[in-house]
């Protein structure tokens, strides 16, 4: 049997627990509403958009296909993040080897890659990295050979990238990542959904994004064909 004294003691402790929890929630609510930009209490997952910060995702270098020295990644490090990539503008291209628009996009990107590498002003500043959702390493290597892709591609057989970039994205999806105010390569300056068949258009768009001031996102369509 629990004595009356013990009951009183337990109720007293429960009161304490309730008071501490309610006080914390009340203070959090009021302090958040006093902020200039209140933080939303529930943040639903959404597809990354211009102005977002690219989340911190460790990437295993051993599983990447292609020339990793191109990205300027630190040597003998097994886990890297996109912040480790040496570039002012990173084009993160989400694709799938079997989707037709992605193949169109791969063709134009392979030409854009060559254009950047030939341009002494842009070489080293703009870099491209592919992510192949749902493709194994073998498929990715065949795809890279067929489309003469000079940039590395990360095979993502379990489509983990979809959870990170946004549930339900349609490939090809391009993220244009620049440096944020702290100089870290993770600021999503622009995004683009769909294939662009003209390499010149892609190239012009990339130069326009590179010229944007740091911390400024572009929400307009930069990839319209010039007639």
């Amino acid at each position: 049997m629990i004595s009356l004294e013990a009951k009183k003691w337990i109720i007293h402790q429960l009161y304490g627990l309730i008071i501490i929890s309610l006080l914390s929630i009340f203070l959090a609510l009021s302090s958040n509403s006093l902020r200039k930009e209140p933080v939303p209490w529930i943040d639903k997952p959404h597809i990354l958009k211009a102005g977002d910060s690219f989340p911190y995702v460790p990437l295993p270098t051993t599983k990447m296909s292609g020339d990793l020295t191109y990205l300027g990644l630190p040597q003998n490090k097994e886990m890297v993040t996109i912040e480790d990539i040496q570039a002012d503008l990173l084009v993160l291209e989400v694709l799938n080897a079997f989707c037709f628009p992605c193949q169109t996009q791969a063709l134009s990107l392979s030409k854009v890659y060559k254009m950047i590498e030939k341009n002494p002003e842009l070489k080293g500043k703009i870099k491209i990295l592919g992510v192949a959702l749902g493709n194994t390493k073998e498929v990715v290597e065949g795809f890279m050979k067929d489309y003469e892709l000079g940039f590395p591609v990360i095979p993502d057989p379990t489509a983990r990238g979809e959870k990170i970039i946004g549930p339900g994205i349609h490939t090809p999806f391009s993220l244009f990542i620049k440096r944020d105010a702290q100089g870290k390569l993770r600021f999503v300056a622009a995004t683009h959904n769909g294939a662009i068949d003209d390499p010149q258009t892609v190239f012009r768009g990339l130069v326009a994004i590179l010229k944007l001031k740091p911390g400024i996102a572009n929400t307009e369509n930069l990839f319209e064909k010039v007639k």
Binding site: Y15, G16, L23, V39, P45
Partner: protein
């Protein structure tokens, strides 16, 4: 000797705890409370940065990250204030220990997974120094201290049903 005097009193069955014990408890709870208030300050100012630090752990579903980023720092602050002023000592100390254990579990899981992230323990800045096993050592020393005060609490604030008949 003073301690001897007190001991003789307790031996007579007056239940009065020795003065050094009361003071030790006061000092320890103020130390523990200050640790939590110090840790919460920056996170309260920058909950958005702290949310980013939490998301780096990859343990919580996306919907819950902001809730914890707003709630946890204030919980720490309230528990810290309650400990300093000696309010609801049993509950405050137990929440303190539970939070410490949860934080340490999160750090251990992240270190074991090889995540190279900052801890978000005393600063909300996700770009701060990356955590190492030393972070865990620091946290475990705080936990040992906060667990070691339970005997003091049992002596000073003994729950009534545990009293000797």
């Amino acid at each position: 000797m003073e301690t001897g005097k007190h001991l003789t009193i307790t031996n007579k069955g007056t239940q009065k705890p020795p003065g050094w014990m009361v003071w030790l408890w006061r000092i320890l709870r103020i130390i523990l409370g200050t640790i939590f208030i110090y840790a919460s300050a920056e996170k309260i100012i920058n909950p958005d940065q702290f949310a980013y630090a939490i998301s780096n752990y990859k343990l919580l579903p996306g919907e819950l990250i902001n809730f914890f980023a707003l709630f946890l720092p204030w919980m720490e602050a309230v528990v810290g204030i309650f400990l300093i002023f000696g309010l609801f000592e049993w509950v405050s100390l137990t929440i303190f220990n539970v939070l410490m254990i949860v934080f340490m579990a999160a750090i251990t899981i992240s270190l074991a997974r090889g995540l190279n992230i900052s801890c978000g323990c005393f600063t909300s800045d996700p770009n701060a120094e990356k955590m190492t096993w030393l972070t865990l050592l620091r946290d475990s020393s705080i936990l040992i201290l906060s667990l070691a005060v339970y005997p003091l609490l049992f002596r000073l604030r003994r729950p009534p049903f545990l009293k000797k008949q």
